[in-house]
């Protein structure tokens, strides 16, 4: 009989092996993040010291000051942080709103061409941004929007995945509620705003966080569109700061830590939307 029992020796060995692998994997994966946090408060001699001491001997807060002021003392990074916030938050808001609008139209109305519209929007998911970035850049230049918030935001106002997510969510929204509102003489736009949009909470939160993170991470587009230092976003500033030979290692990690704080704060408070967002994506692609 090869039947496994609850407390047999192989079962216990197997279970402890599982724990050893999982915990060491989690620890190893966490090492670089711990390194960033520690090194952001160390002086560069200690960061590059052999053997490496993990904890700062006395926290060097000047790193953060230098990160914010920059090597040239122009204090451009705070402006870049503001840019990242403006761009990411506007795109998160517009993605949720416009995706809900389109998703609602596709989920709750029957009209000719509806399937074509839906399939057409879904097909755009296959277009890599790298393929369309040059035509997009030329559009932005023609509109005179280079080096402006408009140029940074416009191509990302909404995305196909958002439409998909909202449509799926609203398909299960009770149509009786909409009909009841229509009988009461409620106008269609008002039905959307006061009934549909108000109840799109969980899908909206998942989508907003996804859109925010994508833009917080976006390097390629700001490199193209933001020519002046004032209009750069955080990733573009990081590349510039890291490329400067005079940059102090501790200050580099302070920059990294500052860039990571908002997303980590979101992650720790709303982790279910992060982990859920990942799986929603897989459901969408299947």
């Amino acid at each position: 009989m090869r039947r496994s029992r609850a407390f047999s020796f192989p079962a216990v060995a197997f279970s402890s092996l599982t724990w050893v692998i999982l915990l060491s994997a989690a620890a190893v994966i966490f090492v670089p993040i711990a390194f960033m946090a520690g090194a952001s408060l160390m002086n560069s001699a200690d960061i590059m010291q052999m053997p490496y001491g993990w904890l700062p001997r006395s926290p060097k807060w000047a790193n953060f000051l230098q990160a914010l002021a920059g090597n040239d003392g122009q204090w451009i990074f705070p402006r870049n942080i503001l840019n990242s916030l403006v761009v990411s938050l506007s795109i998160a808001a517009s993605t949720v709103f416009l995706s809900a609008l389109t998703g609602y139209g596709l989920a709750k109305f029957r009209f000719r061409g509806r399937n074509t519209v839906f399939m057409g929007i879904m097909a755009t998911m296959m277009i890599p941004f790298e393929t369309v970035m040059i035509p997009l850049y030329i559009i932005i230049v023609r509109l005179g929007l280079q080096n402006s918030y408009g140029g940074l935001i416009l191509p990302f106002l909404m995305n196909a995945f958002g439409v998909f997510l909202m449509r799926q969510y609203l398909l299960s929204f009770p149509s009786e509620m909409l009909d009841a509102a229509r009988i009461d003489g409620c106008s269609e736009p008002r039905i959307f705003f006061s009934i549909v949009f108000k109840n799109a909470g969980p899908a909206a939160a998942t989508l907003a966080i996804l859109a925010f993170r994508q833009q917080w991470d976006n390097l390629l587009w700001p490199l193209l569109v933001a020519q002046s230092e004032e209009m750069k976003t955080i990733p573009a500033y990081i590349v510039k700061f890291a490329a400067e030979k005079s940059s102090d290692e501790g200050a580099m990690m302070a920059v990294a830590a500052i860039a990571s704080l908002p997303v980590f704060a979101l992650f720790l408070t709303l982790s279910k939307y992060f982990l859920g967002g990942a799986s929603v994506y897989s459901a969408g692609k299947e």
């Binding site: 994966i29 890599p128 990081i238 990942a278």
Partner: protein, 303 residues
């Protein structure tokens, strides 16, 4: 008759409102997806310079010929292929392993998932920057590698040697995304009905048999999906290579297609040739997506 007519008008009315709600989306995707992709194809047939006032000249397939016969392009194809293959294998195997182990436990499941996922929360540039310092000759990567391999005092040239810099970019990527794909596998495993596994336990199947005979076959749609997503993700890599080369790492070994497109368009200002590479990248990704749709369909039919 009367009733029929009012039904018809109601239908027409809902159709109008349907278009009303869909219109902003249709406009947006026409302007910012459909037009640009057509424009990219169109531009690939022209001799077009960025910010040039001269009207672009139609040169047919000339750009394609030039790109396909340039060693620089094939070097990029090679760099991208090595990166994608090198990142795919560890990423796929590790995320599958972690997912199977995570789902076999009930305690601390969320905490471990969050720890594995945490690098995916960071920006790609931040991830690359952290590793940039760890890969410094005096940095942590050398110390750890030497401690593991018992080779004190050796510099592995993580950012200077051609092979090592390829490995370094792969390490950054696997580290950043392994947790993300673990979560996808966890979701996929969660969809497998528990009863099948329980039946197998009663029949005396051990853990390995259950994994290879039950979990793996039933996980096929997720496996195909994750494989394609990893590959597409790897083809789109840009930030790590860009940052590393900005800090003086050799360009050749890590000049992946996206970086080459960027440099050809912005540094060389040659939009025609950049568009050719962009179109070829698109064609390849389309092929991957098509494979995924085909395979997951056949998976559905079998089950």
């Amino acid at each position: 008759m009367n009733k029929g007519r009012s039904g018809e008008s109601l239908e027409r009315k809902t159709a109008r409102w349907g278009w009303f709600f869909v219109a902003p989306g249709v406009l947006f995707f026409s302007a910012f997806s459909l037009y640009p992709i057509l424009n990219a194809f169109w531009t690939s047939f022209f001799n077009k310079k960025l910010l040039s006032l001269k009207p672009p000249k139609f040169i047919g397939l000339d750009n394609y010929g030039k790109v396909l016969s340039s060693p620089d392009f094939w070097n990029s194809v090679g760099a991208t292929a090595i990166f994608a293959a090198g990142a795919f294998v560890p990423m796929f195997l590790l995320s599958l392993l972690f997912a199977v182990l995570v789902t076999s436990r009930t305690r601390w499941r969320r905490g471990i998932q969050m720890a594995l996922y945490s690098p995916a929360v960071l920006s790609s540039v931040v991830a690359a920057l952290i590793w940039l310092l760890m890969f410094d000759p005096r940095g942590l990567a050398n110390q750890m590698a030497n401690a593991l391999m018992r080779t004190p005092g050796i510099d592995h040239k993580w950012l200077a040697d051609a092979t090592m810099v390829r490995i370094s970019t792969i390490v950054v990527y696997v580290w950043k995304y392994v947790g993300y794909f673990t979560i996808l596998f966890v979701t996929g495993i969660g969809k497998i009905p528990q009863s099948v596994n329980e039946a197998a336990v009663i029949d005396g199947a051990n853990a390995f048999q259950r994994f290879f005979r039950i979990t793996l076959p039933l996980l096929k749609p997720t496996t195909v999906l994750v494989s394609v997503m990893i590959l597409i993700q790897c083809l789109k890599t840009f930030s790590t290579q860009y940052l590393f080369t900005q800090r003086g790492a050799p360009l050749g070994p890590i000049n992946v297609l996206t970086l080459n497109i960027y440099n050809t368009a912005l540094r060389d200002q040659n939009l025609g040739r950049a568009s050719v590479m962009a179109v070829l990248l698109f064609a390849f990704m389309l092929l991957l997506s098509w494979t995924q749709i085909r395979f997951s369909r056949s998976g559905e039919l079998e089950s």
